[in-house]
Symmetry: D2
Subunit: 349 residues, 4 copies
Amino acid sequence: MYVGILGATGAVGQKFIRLLQNHPWFKIAALGASHRSAGKKYKDAANWIEDVALPDYIAEMTVANCDPAEFGNVDFVFSGLDSSVAGEIEGAFAKAGIPVISNAKNYRMDPTVPLLVPEVNPDHIELIKTQTFTEDGSGWIVTNPNCVAVPLSLALKPIYDAFGIEAMVVTTMQAISGAGYPGVPSMDILGNVVPFISGEEPKIAPETQKLLGKLDRGTLKTPGYPVQATCTRVPTLNGHMAAVTVKLANKPSSIKEVKEVVLTFENPIAHLELPFAPKEVIKLHEEERFPQPRLHADHENGMQLHMGRLREAEVFDLSFVCMAHNTIRGAAGGAILNAELLVKKGYME
Amino acid sequence: MYVGILGATGAVGQKFIRLLQNHPWFKIAALGASHRSAGKKYKDAANWIEDVALPDYIAEMTVANCDPAEFGNVDFVFSGLDSSVAGEIEGAFAKAGIPVISNAKNYRMDPTVPLLVPEVNPDHIELIKTQTFTEDGSGWIVTNPNCVAVPLSLALKPIYDAFGIEAMVVTTMQAISGAGYPGVPSMDILGNVVPFISGEEPKIAPETQKLLGKLDRGTLKTPGYPVQATCTRVPTLNGHMAAVTVKLANKPSSIKEVKEVVLTFENPIAHLELPFAPKEVIKLHEEERFPQPRLHADHENGMQLHMGRLREAEVFDLSFVCMAHNTIRGAAGGAILNAELLVKKGYME
Amino acid sequence: MYVGILGATGAVGQKFIRLLQNHPWFKIAALGASHRSAGKKYKDAANWIEDVALPDYIAEMTVANCDPAEFGNVDFVFSGLDSSVAGEIEGAFAKAGIPVISNAKNYRMDPTVPLLVPEVNPDHIELIKTQTFTEDGSGWIVTNPNCVAVPLSLALKPIYDAFGIEAMVVTTMQAISGAGYPGVPSMDILGNVVPFISGEEPKIAPETQKLLGKLDRGTLKTPGYPVQATCTRVPTLNGHMAAVTVKLANKPSSIKEVKEVVLTFENPIAHLELPFAPKEVIKLHEEERFPQPRLHADHENGMQLHMGRLREAEVFDLSFVCMAHNTIRGAAGGAILNAELLVKKGYME
Amino acid sequence: MYVGILGATGAVGQKFIRLLQNHPWFKIAALGASHRSAGKKYKDAANWIEDVALPDYIAEMTVANCDPAEFGNVDFVFSGLDSSVAGEIEGAFAKAGIPVISNAKNYRMDPTVPLLVPEVNPDHIELIKTQTFTEDGSGWIVTNPNCVAVPLSLALKPIYDAFGIEAMVVTTMQAISGAGYPGVPSMDILGNVVPFISGEEPKIAPETQKLLGKLDRGTLKTPGYPVQATCTRVPTLNGHMAAVTVKLANKPSSIKEVKEVVLTFENPIAHLELPFAPKEVIKLHEEERFPQPRLHADHENGMQLHMGRLREAEVFDLSFVCMAHNTIRGAAGGAILNAELLVKKGYME
């Protein structure tokens, strides 16, 4: 299938290009960016920051405007657009009958738009049918969550299903790549911690709740547990870490029972053998010093969720840390897995 | 007064030397270390890691064994000993009639030993009278808390006194200097987070509770709030940061009331004008991106407690971050302030 | 004396403010910045990045435009202006009769403008008399060199005077603070080396040659040794390091002779007792692992030049490393020392 | 073929395990380490520091002593031993008829031992025939160079062959992984540069000269150009960078001619299609900000040599920077490529 990338010159757009270059199903056929870049060769428009070489055929492609009229040859688009422009542009593509697999936040909380993590809530893709961008249903939008909501939802899913969640306190230690490029000035973060990330904390409750919600005759029933979050920036490159304490609705008999629940998590998309799906969705580390962003973020091509330090808590019931690659699992890679699921389920052909 | 330093070649010992070199009251008269170092000139025994020059007169001093017999000329000693040897050596000094101002953990939870932060519990020094190291009371031990318990107790003190504390969830982001030298291998921490620090989490509840305890006719009544802690190591040099969420016994009417309580904290030692006492004990930052270890850990000579992000919490009642210099306020500097208080109160002459 | 600061909100401007706040001779009376900042309180116009608190009286000062008409009350100005605007603005101040002590590059190579490092070429201030900004000589410009030329000139001075220099190969490892704020993106430098700094290498030969030049009846005779420089950026905060190999005109009899020359360097301004002058201008380290930016850049208030690894070279004659604090000795602090010398020499009253 | 790894628990040994786990020709059949580790399962003996998971079959292997008697089932061994023991152990294996592909320094300068970089001096393997460890020639030693000599020799090879080299000045910026584990304390290197690496500088001249030497009727004729080296440690993870200035024997007509020579370098092993051989041996970057350790060290599985900033020099003739992955190209990966060449050439069957 032929795909386009919106926001192709940005950090997320570059990650899409990197991850898609040898994809067995998808071939990049169009690159969209701002007016400033449109008309240039990609290699001249983008400041390539990935640690692999820019593929030659991408380097020579001409960047288009983010206008559906210039994307006639694609089956769907990935969007790595900034939220300041994503709302309008993604809507225009959907209206033009081009499905949008978006990493932007704009449509995430729209009740007709699936906020999707395939291992967590694959059935939510049915919501697509409630979208009204086009009369014939050919244009629609699917989103992936914020880069912190991704690891949290993957870690919480088996626990939520087994015990229910009544409250969560979370502190994150987030990597610099989460802020894009140029992003965080080195003077701010070298040997430092910044105890605030603008706009990050308010996303955690609604996004994880929507992800854990149950579709009931076309309507999403979402849990309402309160979340207290502190999001910090630390000098790591990739991999957002979260330290989590949760109150459970039904008390497990022991920590062993909780570990069993995590270790026997039934991955609902395992049988689909999607190219970007990790074999082991949740890696539960027993060594107390693990997981670590530098050592584990790239495992299973950056698509694995890492949990560790799972233990009974003195306050509430359960504590653990979880970590995933923020720009792969938490952004571009997650979007690609979403697209793979949608293809396999017949939403795109 | 003449002071000795036990564990003088280690990271904490070096910090004592650095901080004491121009002290108005205390003059270093003896340096103690292990057998391996004893007999050598300090400059040959120690691998000086401080970012100021090693003072010449210290460089030429001969290192002694940590034996009271070799410390005849001192009025008291500071101990930066490792906990593997601190118990025995500090006890020996106390029995020899030499007061010990210790940074080690060994005697912290001894009910007769003050665990002291002068701005938090100065009255606890009375416990000294219950010690039995010597018949005439000339030898005794006072300790300062773990480098995380120090900022936590300073931040919690006004809140605890005003509202009471029923539970606390805390995640720390701790600097590499907390592990001494050589300490954390660079391969473990460069661009990384390690979500575990051996032995750290279990200290937080008992130490902060002892600090907030009330002396009632010679007996310490300590609160029993549960604490859920996750202690992590991050690539910062100095300054332990903690993200805290607390449940209060008595609900404040508003976050403004909590801020008032913090801002009007009455420093019980303000009138003593101790040389190492910070003028403003608690700096409450209003900018959400503050405090930061690199920017603020050195303020007021590293003796200030920094709070920020004070806000109502979705879970429980109150969230904030706090940060202090871990090897100054949280170790050597805190011990020096303890000694100053004890001198001023007449315990040492 | 009352001083103004041009470019007061930038990184160098902030360093001027920090360093001048307790200066015994100079008091900040005016702060100039771009139109965007003019009219605002300083605390609202600047994103304070120093690791000490912004002084209250500065915080409340209103920022002016960089227009001599708005600086009527100052005796002279320090300029931390960006080179894109420094040429015009500094010229305007000089023409208005206000001496300019500049950190910008624009006038450095002007044959009538002293490029000044007080310990290296204090006699060059005579060049001021050849300037023609004003008829009565009341307005003029003095510059300090690039932050790499400063440590190089200080290290080369005794060697050049004793042996002459015929060629130099230098590789620098420069700190992120040299690029200002926001400056280097963290994605570019965390755990990385960038082997190029735009515009840096071509400054080294002409600036060090001008600094080592001799005034001969009003004309500067400058040496013409070739310089091959590679300037790199490394993830350090402060302190530019340089690895240097030089060919000497007259061969020393031994490395011991070279060390003697360095250790007995006669500081031409020692007797003036200027407030910002380091007591020991050149610290020659004998330990091979020294100097190090993190350990030594702040010594003597950041004004000391550190040399180390002084040794005979296999190629040419002599190798060494040198390091100095790039934003203090190499920028704002160096400019302040220049101003102090000019005051002492009667150029400003 | 079945291979053993000597020093299997160390940093280089771990890299061997990681790199060999899917090797098409070699299968790990024995792991040797010190007495302390021997008899334990590998997972219990080693502190795995690689950022991929420890392969299960390795985890469960029992560690042997580094004794040929315990390695009966291997065709040859890779040695990642520390130099303190490598001399004796490697010699013992060679005498026992087990070829040793070593990363240790002990035999590098032995005139009968090839110091081998396959793209530089593949013909040097003939020296094996002059070794006398065994009568039948079944046991011998081949070494790969120091992790700095590897990138230098690869960069210098085409230049040396075309123009000759008369002198070299080099400054290195070396990654922390070069010191093994625990290696460099984080307190020494976080935000710092250390301008000295013990034992590193003296290796550069003899090793690069031996690599560039010509075999003439069984004897190696090596060039004698002087080298002035300054080796520094910087806070990067992988990838040693070197800034080089060289004097050439025959002057190129222009920098374009030099670039041609580099770009048309004829890789003498290209036709052998060895599994670990990079397709493009030398990547010559045109962008001045490249190469960078973080962006380029992993290209071509860490086996590529990166050059950049190739330019005419003001001093001597030519300057450039070069960089390669120090623990892959510069250690374990280089050794594996050596083994592949030796297999292909019939030295091991």
